[in-house]
């Protein structure tokens, strides 16, 4: 129930000067009628103090509606705009247009989930949060500001009687700074208001803090600047040392890392070599036919025994061919895949071999396997991304494609030949 007015009147705040007349009432009804009279008398700097809210007392006092809602609304709008601008700046502004701004303050294009850099739905949660945050700041700090808080000294607390305001007494304080205040007339007015007691509240004398406290304060203030100065210095200073590692967790441990020196062992290496002839699980590549497509060091002419030719394998081969190979070689292997077609269209040269060229037709399966595994000229290697079994499936499928273009009458059964006639 602050009732302050911006108008200031030069009033002594010297120790012992009159600060307030404090009127004590015993019932809410008594304070209500007194408050009405103070308001009617045109007072602006005065207040009521009650142990609990009394409905309607604001109206009786003539307190105008607070402007706080407007402050909160404006702060909320500012928060919304800040949220929007912040996200635009951080993610959607083009740094090239803002070269005059230091790099560490510039925005940075960051693609999230394939959304546009500036996309409203993604921004709304942040806008929402900042609206709330700014509104809350506006409400709290606006309230404090409008009430002139924090207020470290108020003469009212010099009155012992006033302590009962949180218990069972009702008070009106008439401020000496009010333009209507007059030591004698106001006293007379106050006495007509039906108060149980009218008390003079005087300013207390200013007592300086003890000398030792001042010294300690000065020293403490200076010491408090030291860490800040150190931080400021290391911010700009150059150093060959690594950054401070404040939280260690288990980052730096006393142990040997790979490739370090270790005097314990004869060879001086921390890393130990596996015992002679060790083979890791799953890394025995003895069957060169299967793993490398080589028989006695030459490309294999036949499929390895471990690969069983059947419909499932061919189907797997077709699927993987369509995924990995068709982009260049085409679905039919005639070397007109989408990339090749596009390269031709824009005048680039992309050398893709058709499977139906004689030279390719004559290659052994081991050779084809090796080409798929390690690549050839512009063709990249697929050994690391298609498993061995699957590469053989592709080989089988490529062979089937080639076979489909070179069938002769002899390949048909008698029945089929009969149908052709």
């Amino acid at each position: 129930m602050s009732h302050a007015s911006p108008k200031t009147v030069a009033v002594s705040t010297e120790p012992g000067a009159l600060a307030y007349y404090l009127l004590e009432f015993e019932t809410p009804d008594a304070i209500r009628s007194a408050a009405r009279r103070v308001n009617e008398a045109g007072w602006t700097r005065w207040d009521t103090h009650t142990p609990y809210p009394i409905h309607g007392l604001d109206a009786t006092m003539g307190v105008r509606p607070t402007v706080l809602p407007v402050i909160v609304f404006v702060c909320g709008c500012l928060g919304a705009l800040t949220g929007l601008a912040l996200q635009w700046w951080a993610n959607a502004s083009d740094p090239a247009n803002f070269k005059f701004i230091p790099t560490f303050l510039q925005g940075y294009h960051f693609l999230i989930s394939g959304k546009p850099y500036f996309s409203l739905p993604a921004n709304i949660p942040v806008i929402f949060e900042l609206t709330i945050l700014f509104s809350a700041f506006g409400a709290v700090f606006g309230m404090l500001g409008l009430n002139f808080l924090p207020d470290l000294y108020n003469a009212l607390f010099n009155s012992r009687r006033f302590a009962r305001v949180t218990d069972d007494r009702f008070f009106i304080s008439l401020d000496a700074r009010d333009p209507r205040f007059d030591e004698r007339k106001t006293r007379e007015f106050a006495e007509t208001l039906g108060a149980a007691v009218v008390e003079d509240v005087r300013h207390s004398p200013w007592t300086a803090p003890p000398q030792w406290m001042v010294h300690v304060g000065v020293v403490a203030s200076i010491v408090a600047l030291v860490p800040l100065a150190l931080i400021a210095r290391s911010w700009t200073a150059k150093s060959p040392l690594p950054r401070f590692h404040i939280v260690q967790d288990m980052d730096n441990q006393e142990r040997y890392k790979a490739q370090m020196e270790n005097p314990i062992f004869a060879d001086g290496r921390a890393t130990r070599l596996p015992a002679e002839g060790t083979v890791a699980i799953g890394e025995l590549y003895e069957d060169t036919h299967y793993w490398y497509g080589l028989v006695d060091g030459k490309p294999a002419e036949t499929m390895p025994e471990r690969v069983e030719l059947n419909e499932a394998l061919m189907e797997r081969g077709r699927k993987l061919f369509d995924i990995n190979c068709s982009a260049c070689h085409g679905y039919d292997g005639a070397a007109y895949g989408a990339i090749r077609v596009r390269a031709d269209a824009i005048g680039n040269v992309l050398a893709v071999r058709s499977f139906y060229e004689r030279s390719v037709m004559e290659k052994s399966v081991g050779h084809l396997f090796n080409t798929i595994t390690n690549g050839f000229q512009t063709m990249p290697a697929y050994g690391h991304r298609v498993s061995t079994e699957d590469r053989w499936a592709i080989v089988a499928y490529v062979r089937a494609l080639q076979r489909s273009r070179s069938a002769s009458v002899d390949d048909l059964t008698t029945e089929e030949r009969a149908r052709l006639r």
């Binding site: 739905p121 709304i124 949660p125």
Partner: protein, 418 residues
């Protein structure tokens, strides 16, 4: 007591006025239903292939809309008991009257269940899971008998809850028994739980199952937000009209109006919050099996409706009701409340009318179908709304407008906003 005197001075007996209004509303409702039938038959005979579907969609939409108001009344009453609220005693009977219309809404839900059980033409287009060849992966839940059973359970629970709370409150007018209040307070908690489950599954069944493979876990909350804001808006309108006719003047002060207005304001924001939460997750994940539902509402004529919802459902009421002044003036609040009710009627149409297809996204409909959709929705609104209004008015006229012997009535009369 001064407060009792103000009740005496206030006219809280609506009994003499109700019957005339009830008859008028009921006539209006019947006219609306007959009009719906006439327009429906006209649309079918004009050869509009979607006409039958349009009729069912319009009916279901309005059924959900007015049931939402009744459910809002029920949850309002439950919350007041749960929080042992003092201020709301003077307006609680208004919410009790909308909750009291739920039995009537149960009667109006019967046609949909019957249409479904008889597989009348068009209903399969509204609820594709009724089709015999439809993917049966969720048939354990979405099937005719279980749907019918659920509707009986939902409305049964609501009628039971509404009857208990309304009848206890009315009984207290005669006996003044404080134990009735205690009993209502102890039963409201399981009641809120039952309400949350039934309301959620009701709208899942009625509206979300129109796209059986589309799901949004927040759909039930969205419907709850609509039902709450609709109910408090109806309460604000009731206060306006009752005040104008000279009722409840001293019982419902600007302070109560202010609180009702705060609830209207708060729940338009809540509605926007829920609606946006639903949208943002689907937009961000961008999964085709979810986005098609919004695609259908972002294309063709529905795009304009979507924009209208954003502006009219959030921005306009937000800016219009944010200040305390319109909330404390019955006429201004009534305008806001009416606006909110209209927007949320379109909101329910937005949920129920657009045809969406998981494969194709938006399903384009002809202009005639759209016109019939809207006209049928309007006539069905008059029909179902009229009957709903008659039920509410009948409740209003069956007891005093204020729970006269509620132990917290004095607290409500002395209520003052800070």
């Amino acid at each position: 007591m001064a407060h009792s005197a103000s009740i005496e001075a206030s006219n809280i007996d609506f009994r003499g006025h109700a019957p005339r209004l009830v008859t008028a509303a009921r006539m209006l409702g019947l006219i609306g239903l007959v009009l719906t039938a006439i327009v429906g038959v006209a649309a079918i005979s004009m050869g509009d292939g979607h006409a039958r579907e349009s009729i069912w969609r319009a009916y279901v939409a309005n059924l959900c809309y007015f049931t939402a108001i009744g459910l809002g009344g029920l949850i309002f009453v439950l919350i007041q008991h749960a929080t042992r609220a003092g201020w709301s005693v003077s307006v609680r009977r208004l919410a009790e009257s909308t909750a009291g219309a739920l039995p009537t809404m149960a009667m109006l839900a019967i046609p949909i269940v019957v249409v479904m059980l008889l597989s009348l033409p068009g209903i399969e287009e509204v609820y594709p899971w009724l089709k015999s060849g439809y993917d049966r992966s969720n048939a354990a839940y979405l099937n005719k008998p279980f749907f019918a059973i659920r509707m009986v359970v939902f409305f049964g629970i609501w009628i039971w809850l509404a009857n208990f709370f309304v009848n206890s409150s009315v009984l207290q007018d005669q006996t003044g028994d404080v134990r009735l209040t205690s009993r209502m307070e102890s039963r409201c908690y399981p009641g809120i739980l039952l309400y949350a489950l039934t309301s959620t599954f009701f709208v899942i069944d009625m509206l979300m199952s129109m796209n059986p493979h589309w799901y949004s876990t927040i759909f039930g909350v969205y419907y709850f937000s609509i039902s709450f804001v609709n109910n408090v808006s109806v309460m604000a309108l009731m206060i306006f009209f009752l005040h104008r006719a000279g009722f409840m003047r001293n019982v419902v002060s600007n302070e109560h109006l202010h609180d009702v207005g705060k609830l209207v304001f708060a729940f338009t924001v809540f509605w926007a919050y829920i609606g946006f939460s639903q949208y943002m997750l689907i937009w961000y994940a961008s999964l085709p099996e979810e986005t098609f539902w919004f695609m259908a509402r972002q294309s063709g004529p529905w795009l304009y409706l979507s924009i209208l919802l954003i502006l009219g459902g959030f921005f306009i009421p937000f800016l219009g009701l944010i200040s305390r002044h319109p909330k404390r003036r019955a006429a201004a609040l009534a305008v806001g409340a009416a606006w909110v009710l209209v927007v949320h009627w379109f909101d329910i149409l937005w949920l129920a009318l657009p045809r969406a297809n998981p494969e194709a996204g938006a399903v384009t409909i002809s202009g005639t179908t759209l016109v019939f959709d809207l006209v049928l929705s309007l006539t069905a609104m008059i029909g179902i709304g009229g009957i709903f209004a008659s039920a509410v008015l009948q409740r209003l006229g069956s007891a005093s407008l204020v729970p006269t012997r509620d132990p917290r009535l004095n607290e409500a009369l002395a209520f003052h906003n800070f």
